[in-house]
């Protein structure tokens, strides 16, 4: 079993870790959730029928683990943010976990985009991470989220619009 786990780990661990990290934006929490994903995976290994790919299966479990986490934390309401308020947002960020060095060493625009992700809904953020950060196809994303590809496309479109709006407001240095 260790070999199978190791195989899974080596193939998908970095993507899995990044997916969960961008969802929750906190490394210790990410480690806990990744561990929970692996536990669920190993417990249900014998029920995996191979109808989806292992990757889709793994990320689908990761998605559910993350949703459970948000529910437990009662953060769902915060995620469906109202209008963007940059000053408030900056203050909020100061209270949050530190920006990881992988982000901190990147350009200012990347750092800003990292912050703007907070103002997408959970669904939008999941689609954005899977589609653009993880470079998955629309079909893979739809399979992971158990959505139709139409819903993925619509959510993706709205997420891009939302991010564009946040970025413009930041660059303009004003709030709406």
């Amino acid at each position: 079993m260790k070999e199978s786990f190791q195989e899974l780990y080596e193939e998908y661990h970095h993507d899995l870790f990044s997916f969960i990290f961008y969802m929750v934006k906190d490394k210790p929490t990410t480690e806990d959730l990744v561990q929970e994903v692996y536990i669920r995976v190993l417990k249900s290994f014998d029920t995996f029928k191979g109808q989806s790919s292992r990757k889709t299966w793994l990320f689908s479990i990761a998605r559910h683990v993350t949703i459970d986490f948000f529910r437990k934390q009662g953060r769902r309401n915060k995620q469906t943010a109202q209008r963007f308020d940059f000053d408030e947002h900056v203050n909020l960020l100061k209270d949050q976990s530190p920006t990881p060095y992988e982000i901190a060493e990147k350009s200012e625009e990347i750092q800003l985009m990292y912050q703007c992700l907070d103002h997408c809904t959970e669904d939008q953020r999941a689609v954005i991470i899977l589609r653009y950060i993880q470079q998955m196809s629309i079909k893979e994303t739809a399979d992971i989220l158990s959505w139709t590809t139409s819903k993925v496309k619509t959510t993706q479109h709205r997420a891009i619009l939302s991010l564009k709006e946040q970025m413009l407001q930041y660059k303009g240095g004003h709030t709406e």
């Binding site: 870790f17 490394k27 480690e31 653009y132 079909k139 479109h157 709205r158 991010l163």
Partner: protein, 413 residues
Amino acid sequence: MSKHHNDDDSIKKLLSEMPQIKDDRSFEEYYEQISKEINKNSIQTKKKKGWLLPILTSAAALFLFVIIGLQFINSDETTDGVFQLSEDNENETEDKPTDQGDEDMEMAESNHIDDGDEESSPNIEESEVEEEVEVEKESEQDEANTMNSLDTRVLTEDQANEQDTNYITYTESEPESQFFIPLTYMLPSEEDPHVFFNESEQFVGQIDEFNQQFYQNMTFVGMNHESEPVIQVEEDNFQGAATEMYLFEALRFFETLGYESVELQDQEGESLDLPHAGSIEEYTFKEQKALYKLYQSNTGDSYWGKKYLEQNTTIIDALNELKNEEEFGPIEPPIPGDINFEIIEQGELLEVILESELELGNNLSTQRMIESILLTAKTFGFREVQFLNIEMDSVGPYDLTNPIEVPKYINVR
């Protein structure tokens, strides 16, 4: 619009440059922790459900005994199979779980593999017969698929979702403007379909004889705060009932993209004021009763054309109308006149019971009859149609043994 598009691209590019986040923990750390957790859960489960084990074991033994007994009553061949199965089960029960995390996980993997083995060891004779049947079925299906690939011009949402492609649907009309002709085009998945509302000239106008005025004098200007598309309309150009109808039909471009409504505004950003529809800020797409017949173009190609019906038309009247010739134009009735049917409405399922002296064949005519019924039923709010009393299991791509989903995309090119 190209600026919007470029903005989208720059956002996507930035996102693609977001770094992977590295994990500070090693594989061994995870493995150790996970083993502990699984082991802990396993012990707790055993403690909680310790009394269940003897009962379950007894029940399993009794069940096995009954199965084996029944098989002895049957043929020797099947008995051999059961003995094999019981041996497998005995082997499984010998793999007793231990308190070690490693072994718990090994058991999980072993169960997984055993499942696969059972599935992959069917009776050989049965397997050969099944193979022959499969070959026959595949041969029949190949013929049907060939017909499908040549002539099917409709797609359900599920079929469309199988491909990593966007679809956009423009509306034109035949020269008499009695039938609207929706025309669907495929886009690469990375293309934003919204912008093509303003770039209709890339697609519209490929069939010379069609009326192509639908997309003039209106512009997609973006999305509002409710994530609805916003369309700016030059209202001076929409001063008649027919042109208003063209406007609303053209807006269905966004309905096929999955939107339930669009915001309308004049060139000053105010609500739209039309002579017949009145003042209108938002247009919500509603299914309007219609029927679909085949338009034969000058080039010999056929297109599904949509004609709206009075709102008090019943579905059975609409289906019977599909048998009638039109007074004008090269419009073909898609159902032969000597085919009759009854219908049963069950919520979103329509059952069509065919009564025909004719023997229907697995051919293009029958496929088009089915498609015309599916398309027409859709406009009455049905989501599936089940064909009954038809002496075939399939026609073209359609499995007649089950309800068939109504199409979403029409005249796909």
